[in-house]
Every structure is written in structure tokens, then in C-alpha cells.
Amino acid sequence: MNPIKYAYLAVESWFNVAFGSEWNPLYNMGRLAFFFFWIVLISGLYLFIFFDTSLSGAYASVEAITYEQKYFGGVMRSLHRYASDAAVITIILHMFREYALGRYNGVRWFSWISGVPTLWLVITLGITGYWLVWDELGLYVAMLSSQLMDALPFIPGSMSRNFVGSQVSDRFFSLMAFLHFMGQPLFLVFALWIHVKRLSFVKAYAPKGLAIGSFIALLALSLAAPAVSHKAADASQVAAVLNIDWFYLNVYPLMDYFTAGQTWIMTLGVTFFLMIMPWLPPKKTGPAAEVHLDHCNGCEQCAEDCPFDAISVQARTDGAKFEHEVKVNPDLCASCGICVGSCPSSNPFRQKNEILVTGIDMPNKPINDIRDEVDNAIAKLMGNDKIIIMGCENSLDFNSLEAQNLHVVSLFCIGMMPSTLVEYALAHGADGVFITGCRTGDCFFRYGNEWVDERFDGNRQPILRKRADRSRIKVFRAAATDSKQLHKELDEFQNHIKSLNEKGAADEQEPANA
């Protein structure tokens, strides 16, 4: 296994110990970034009320907010800065996570590639923010940004000249204020909308507990180390030492060693590299799901469940009596197979002596093959505790679990498993069904775990019927780093099944003896 992935999963498990799967911040980096944006937005609106957008008044107004409003203004300013910094960290960790866990390529290329410029947009938003304070750091940011702009071939004249001597332009400053308050945030909202465009069930709100904890932490930091300005900007002076914000301004010190043009080349080079990462190398994905209209009644459950918005509903085209049919967009299909688990026609009790054809199926692992695998496994397994393990191939390597009485049915995602398959296995001779997949809150295909839970709880179609013996079904989720716990849970389940069988045998003997 990829060592980066292994190490990252191990770190996530430490966080699971403290936060549980629901609040684990590493599972919620994108959502946390959204949450920090809300803090930035609200605190920014407050600061805007008191901020003087003129060159001569900006610094004094920021100082007044910081020192003359007792705690409130200073805390709002600090929240504004620290939440912006926290947003950058969470975005970078979000990117790293998707990379480490292999969730950035294949059909996910779009979210990745749209995420890279979104990060840059956030950075430029922070840069204009520092500019507006118009202290020594603001002047430094203005000077260096202008030198970068001057290096672009399509920028006429010298923008840098605006910030030396007595030529500092008030209008230019107001333009920056407009960009920071309106232009860039609007672009950012648009970029975020594009970023999540190809996903269904986008969760843009951080879990409550995590949001409260993060806010308290930010508030504590704002009180302990309030954000302050440098000295007022003076175009005839150059500050020797600056406390720069490395999350936002890390490019500028490079210009001590490289020209503005070289700095552009490096920045654009990193951007280009990040953007082509999904194709280094291209991910080999399986074929897209296929619709079999003669077995589809247009119930739309697969379209409802698809985490990648790859299935659309359209008017019936085959003349059948149903109103709708579904259509798969192969460019969006992640080949997760969740739609197979959603389709009521995937019921293995159907077409028992024929080839099982379902309404929507995976060509490289059709439901009929899965049913055959279960049938063959039950026939071959030995002992009185035959257990079928349904597992997701993206969670961990199941080969070590195979035994005389154990058989693993490996699926693309645990959401691919029709609930009726569990019932089918039990009805056809399996003594127990052990279901495993990615860790709770961390499904490789986003919603496989949740849909299985909801189907089992009767809250999502197709449900696991009440007649299925729950005492013979166990769900335990695990990642590659959890194989020890998985073995332990499986051993316990085997003992449990054995005791159930022994008890059942004793119950059968008792009336006979009587």
C-alpha cells in the first residue's frame, strides 16, 4: 500500500479517538474551510462598517477598530485574520487528503482542477486584505504585488511607481478596497460553486460540534494574541523587519532571490503541476454503469443515490408504461456501483434459475456474477459457521480473511451491495454476513456507508427487510490500518455465530428429547 496513504490513515485514526468519526476534522476539511469563510465574512462585514477606504484614513480606522473599541473590534479583527489563516490550512490539508487517499483523479479530476485556482483566489483575497491595512506590511505587499504585475507583458506602464514618493494613488487604494470587499469574494463564491458542481449531496456546513470547537479555539487565540498592525505606511521608508503572514505572503520573500518574472514562472509552474496531477499517471477506472431499460421501472432511486450526479432522469424512450427512465453520463460515472445497490431489480431472489439482470449494472462486475459468487461460496464453505464477508475493495486487502468457513465478496463500494443480497446469503445457507467497508464517515465514494446504514435502518430504498435475521449480520468498518481490530471483530462474530448455531441445535434437540 502507498505509504503516504497508510500514514495518513493512521493519523486519521488518532483523530477518531478524540473526535469520533462525525467530528473528525480530517474528514471535514472542506466543510471546515467553508465554516472559516463564514467567520471571515461576518467579521469582515463588521470591520467594513468602521473601515475608512481612503488612503489617508485606512490605517487610523484599523487602529481605532483595534484599540478604541475595547475588546470587540480587536477580537473581530483577530477572528478575521486567524479564520483566514485557518482556511488556508484546511484547504491545503483538504487537498493533501484527497491526494493521499487517491481521491483526486479519475472522474474527480474536475473537483481537483477547479480547487487549485480556488486556493489561489483565496490567497489573493488575503493579499488585498493585508494591503488595505496600509501599514508597513501593506506597503510592502503593494510594492511587491505591483512589481509582479509590472513583469506581465500585457500590463502597460509601471504600477510600482504608484507606491513610491508622494505619488501614492488614493484611487488605486479604493480599487483595492472594492476588490477585497466585492470583486474577489464574488469570484470566490463562483469558484466554490464550480468546485462542487459535479458532486451530489454537498455538505458545506461543518458538523455542529466541530464548528463550535473551532470557533471557541479561534476566539481563544484572538483574545490571547490579538492581531495588530505594523507602523503606518511611509513611502519614504522601508521596514527592515516584517512579521509577514506566511500563509498568504510566502511568495514575496522569493523576490529577494529571483526576479518578478522568475517568481511568476515558479508560481505558475507549481500551479500547472498541481493541475495536471490527476493525469500523472491517468487513473484507470472501470467502465461506467449500464442501464437495462427492460428491467428499469424508472423509480429514480439510483439517480437519487449517485454521489457524483452521473445519473439523470428523462422521459421514457422504449415505449414501456413507465413515465421515466434513467441515463448514465459516462464522463461523470465513478464506477462505484452504488446505483446497483440502489436498484430494486438487483434483488437476487429474482430470476433464480436464469441470468439475473438488473435495471442498472456494472459491466465489469454484474449482479448476476455477485449472486453466483455467493452461491458458489456457500456451497464450498466448510463448518457450521459459514460466513460471507461483504467488503469494499477500497478499504483494505481482504485476502488474509479468507478461510475454510469465510469467503469475501469484494465490491467496488459497500453501497453496491443490495440489502436483499444479505438476506439472500442468509436464506441460502450462510450462517452469518459480516459487512465491512471504509471507515465510518470516510467512504471512498462518499456515500456508500451512509446509504447502507439507511437501507438497513429502513430509511432508504431498497430497505433490508425485517425478516432478515439481524443477529446474524454485523457491520464493522475499517481502513488498512485497522486490520487488527477487523480480525478481532471477525473472530468475535464467528464465536457469536457458533454460539447461535449451538443454541439453535440445542433448542431443536430439546423438543425431540421431550
Binding site: V17, P25, A220, A239, L242, N243
Partner: protein
């Protein structure tokens, strides 16, 4: 795991996160200048001289033009490059050759360059050539300057003021 221990761990992780946020939001300090350093910034825009002198058109040439195009002087638009050298205490600080901007190279040059120098008394000498038809210097300036630590000494250029202006 005991609830208190769980909350304790959460506090530990939040604290760690906030320490990272706080530290890199202001640290490590960036030293833009060393002690006893100031900055000389050359910043000006200047329309250099035309590359070729204007030429008076002959009567024959004028007659070949449409009546509304009959300007007696033919002036090519392209301007001269600007060559500039800056010396501090007779040591060359920078030598720059700037080409005029614009597709037809008919617009002025923009100069912006900052150079870190040791603070103190210095003899500053600067010259430029803004006319390709002239060999050597077209403007020059020499002055003693006292650059204080963290001071930005601006060298501007204004034809109306007679050339280089030190601010």
C-alpha cells in the same frame, strides 16, 4: 475512552492547530533589510527621443499622397532605447537597457528598480542616454547623499526639472 480524556485530547488538537495558525501568521519574522541598510529606488517613466530624425518630404513625394495626408514632415514613430548606469561611490550599482514599450516601440520606458545599499554618506552618480543618435550621455547627475537606515532614496526623472531628481 473516558469522556474527559476525549475532551482533553480535543483541546490538545485545537490548541495545536491554533498554535500553528498563530505562529505562521507572524513568524518567523522576515528581514527585508539588514541592519544599517537603506534602499535606492529608481522610479520614473520617460519618453525617449525618436530613433530617426524627422524628414521633410519633397514636393513629388507630397503629390503622391492623398490631399488630406500631405504632412510636410515624415516622422517615424519608434523611440530610442534608454541606457542607464548608476554608481555609488564610483562602484557600478546597476546598468540597465530598457526598450520603449508598445507594438511600434513608440511609447515611453518605465523604470523601476530597488537596490539595497549600506546606510551612510555616499557619492551618487547616475547617467543616461535616451537618444540613439547621440553617442554618450544625454543626462547625468552627481550628488552626495546621506542614506539613513530603512530610508528609501528615490531617484526620479523629470525633463522639465532638468533631469534626475533625488528625493
Amino acid at each position: 475512552m473516558h469522556k474527559l480524556l476525549k475532551y482533553g485530547l480535543q483541546i490538545f488538537y485545537y490548541t495545536l492547530f491554533m498554535l500553528v495558525v498563530w505562529y505562521f501568521s507572524i513568524n518567523p519574522p522576515y528581514h527585508q533589510l539588514e541592519e544599517n541598510q537603506g534602499v535606492i529606488t529608481l522610479s520614473f517613466t520617460h519618453a525617449t527621443k525618436l530613433r530617426e530624425p524627422c524628414r521633410k518630404l519633397s514636393q513629388d513625394e507630397l503629390m503622391k499622397l492623398a490631399p488630406n495626408m500631405r504632412l510636410t514632415m515624415d516622422c517615424k514613430r519608434e523611440r530610442s532605447p534608454l541606457i542607464l548606469e548608476l554608481y555609488l561611490d564610483d562602484k557600478l550599482l546597476t546598468k540597465t537597457v530598457l526598450q520603449p514599450s508598445g507594438i511600434h516601440k513608440d511609447q515611453g520606458v518605465s523604470m523601476f528598480k530597488s537596490i539595497k545599499v549600506k546606510s551612510g554618506e555616499h557619492k551618487l552618480r547616475i547617467w543616461m542616454n535616451d537618444d540613439i543618435k547621440v553617442e554618450g550621455v544625454t543626462y547625468k547627475h552627481e550628488q552626495s547623499v546621506n542614506i539613513k537606515p530603512e530610508q528609501l532614496l528615490l531617484i526620479d526623472f523629470d525633463v522639465a526639472s532638468g533631469g534626475f531628481v533625488i528625493k
